[in-house]
């Protein structure tokens, strides 16, 4: 078995005895759905990671070119199925931009409540599943316990627990049921102390810190180069959040809301005065920071929802009546990015004047975030691969579409 490492083809098919090619996925407990990673390992050390995607491809974009924008809403649900409301919102805003459709004030606040609530649910799953990646099972169930309560709230609103199709072009399909806001506020009140529990079990846990701090460091430059967005970008210390920096059509939703972008500035986070301090071993851009940004974003969303509840109660207008199912689209194109829980989710629509878009396209944040895997995993240990991929918090439904 005379092989030279110089020729990559030979190595591919005639592996040296001390190197092993291992398939992690597409059916593996910790690859977050159907991600397949091909690992080149030398003992426990991973020298190369190649992600293979496409196992969940459902031709969503092609379907979008055969349906009207409102008919495509259920398909956007199935992209990032953990944050379906945010997907609905992204597509709805994009189509509204094309239609040049202005929402009543009340509808905007409703969207803020719903979108931020789903951000909490999504980050809870991300947090729990990350614990699972690191081998602790209980925080996962604690996270799901709280997420269930959000799903209960959503079920009251729209009847669905995962694929809502609630926010739609022109507003939302229904108004919030009576008494719902009170339940929502009560939920937020009881969520706060639970988050301290998560911090005790994960964020400040000695083993957790040892497993995540200083691991998979993503420099701000690299994060920008690879187009990383969302908590992955902010975890690297880049101060960008489309809720503040995005297009006017999107940021007007958040006009007048007091919130700070969760990013480390001068060694501390906006809210870390009452939350666990950054451990000494953590380096900006490592897995711990990405996790921590998500945890703080849950707090941030709680604040935003509380403000939104007050403003929704006093706002004028209605919840926004959806446009006709076969609303004629003006000729032209529109692209809009929103800040979904996993990063910047962009939707693109091109219309030739009929009610069915000529081109529908989604720009997935998870796809770009996943693309740094091979950089972060180079030379790490086998056990670090789930830890790094988990900290990127990708959803395969969104990558493959």
């Amino acid at each position: 078995m005379a092989t030279g490492l110089a020729d990559p083809r030979i190595v591919e098919f005639d592996v040296r005895t001390d190197e092993m090619l291992v398939n992690m996925g597409p059916q593996h407990p910790s690859t977050h759905g159907v991600l397949r990673l091909v690992l080149r390992t030398d003992g426990e050390v991973v020298s190369e990671v190649t992600p293979h995607i496409g196992y969940l491809h459902r031709c969503a974009e092609k379907i979008g070119e055969n349906l009207t924008p409102r008919q495509w809403i259920p398909y956007t649900d199935r992209m990032d199925y953990l944050a379906a409301m945010n997907m609905n919102l992204g597509w709805a805003l994009c189509v509204e931009k094309l239609l040049n459709y202005d929402l009543p004030e009340k509808a905007r606040h409703l969207r803020v409540i719903i979108a931020e609530l789903n951000r909490i649910a999504s980050h809870l799953v991300g947090m729990g599943a990350y614990g699972l990646d690191l081998g602790t099972f209980s925080p996962f169930l604690y996270a799901f316990r709280e997420r269930e309560k959000i799903l209960d709230l959503f079920e009251e609103v729209c009847g669905a627990r995962l694929t809502y199709s609630y926010l739609t072009v022109g507003g939302a399909t229904h108004d919030l049921p009576p008494g719902w806001l009170r339940k929502c506020a009560a939920f937020l009140d009881q969520l706060l102390p639970v988050i301290a529990e998560y911090h005790a079990l994960l964020t400040t846990n000695a083993i957790f810190v040892r497993r995540t701090a200083g691991l998979g460091v993503l420099s701000p430059e690299m994060a920008i180069d690879y187009g990383c967005t969302g908590p992955v970008l902010r975890g690297s210390g880049v101060d960008q959040d489309l809720r503040r920096d995005g297009e006017a059509r999107y940021t007007e939703m958040y006009d007048g809301y007091a919130f700070e972008v969760i990013v480390e500035k001068d060694g501390h986070y906006p809210r870390d005065h009452d939350y666990p301090a950054v451990p000494a071993s953590a380096i900006l851009g490592d897995c711990w920071h990405r996790f921590y940004v998500r945890m703080l974003e849950v707090m941030q969303s709680i604040d935003i929802i509380r403000q939104a509840i007050d403003r929704y109660s006093t706002a004028k207008g209605n919840y926004g009546v959806p446009v006709k199912l076969t609303e004629k689209l003006p000729k032209g194109e529109a692209y809009l990015e929103t800040e979904a829980p996993r990063g910047q989710m962009g939707f693109y629509i091109v219309s030739n004047g009929t009610s069915i878009p000529w081109r529908a396209r989604a720009r997935s944040s998870s796809f770009c975030n996943l693309s740094v895997t091979h950089e972060l995993c180079r030379g790490c240990l086998l056990a670090d691969v789930p830890a790094i991929v988990g900290s990127l918090d990708v959803v395969m439904g969104e990558i493959d579409r």
């Binding site: 291992v22 604690y142 497993r211």
Partner: protein, 444 residues
Amino acid sequence: VAESLTNLLGLGPPWQWVAYVLTALVQAFLLLNVVAVGALLFIWMERKVSGRIQDRLGPTRVGGRFGWLQTLADGIKLIAKEDLMPGGADPLLFKLAPYVSFCASFVAYLALPFSGFTGTDGTTYGWVAQPLNVGVFFILAVMGLEVFGVILGGYASASKWSLFGAMREAAQVVSYEVPMGLCVVVPVMICGTMDLVAIGNMQQGWFTNWLIFHDPFTFITFWVYFTCAMASVNRAPFDLAEAESELVAGFHTEYSGLRWSFFFMAEYGSMFAVSGLAAILFFGGWNGPIPITEILGLTYASAFDAWSWTGYVGNLLGLLNFLIKVVLFVTVMMWVRWTLPRLRIDQVMKTCLKYCTPLAAFMFLGVMVWMWYLPGGLLLKSPPLALVRESGAVAPVAIGKPDAQPSVDAQPSDDVTPGNDATPEAGATTGIHVPADIAQAEGR
């Protein structure tokens, strides 16, 4: 037992082996059931404990209110499963591996005493299948063999994940045996014997006699031992060999059905065994915190009336004590498992080599020095049993001097508990000269 059976059946000289074989079979059956039923209960307990920790109920239906028959139902399901073996597997090794693991964990019970007592003449008797004067050594050695099953299973599965798991287990278990052995030597050194029955009986009396309270060094040694024990039986946070988030299921990825359940039973069996060892070596074994049996007189007054019901009840209470302690340790292991994330392989090895081993070695030296100046321990001025004897209120029953050399002649021939052939070199005060030899034997 065999001798009484011979008398009972009236077997002549050429047929005595029948009695011995019968006895051996009965004992093996009983032990097997201890392991199997124990594993059954612990698996059920693990599900209940994890359920409660995770805001769930755990099993609730099978077998009545608490789902206590759930494991049995699962066992039946596992037995009824299709016998699967991967195409590229080595058939012989693949089939052999679970039994190697299970046997290793099961054989450890041979030398694990469940209860015991000291006769008036100072002889120790224990409820143990095979009294061994090297009981500690035997258990550690045999449980170390468990790793062979894992390596065989991982290698024979023809799966890369299994191989990873097996290699991890090999590295981990072999490393952790060093600090674990060092920790075990500490109580052995204090007691001057490797006979588990003798070590347990030496801690008779109030809980201050337990070796964990002997001196500060033993106190720390216990925690080091417990950590290493968790690592050596592959419990979280050291369950790297079957890390489901990394290695799918580690070494038993390709196993299913009954073979898989043998690995599982081995794991729970070893959990019980190391917990039992911890209870005997550090927590007084079958001696409760308050010597109720002695106060109530529920002991064997002398070795001659070993059949006396008072002694029997006392031993049963001792057994209960022992089981409570072991179950507590196992519960702590479960608690830890369902709370903590898993360590990485390099961190596991670092914990072993950089922390546990030096700490254990230091404790070993510390206890050695301590024994030189204060053999009785922190709270005691004299060897444990002597104190019990001196304060008559504690133990109304006369108990033999611990450092008296037991006389073989005094032992009755019709004794139920065959503790005779394991005469310990008892004597706490003589222990100081022993450790060097034992350390050599144990250090391996």
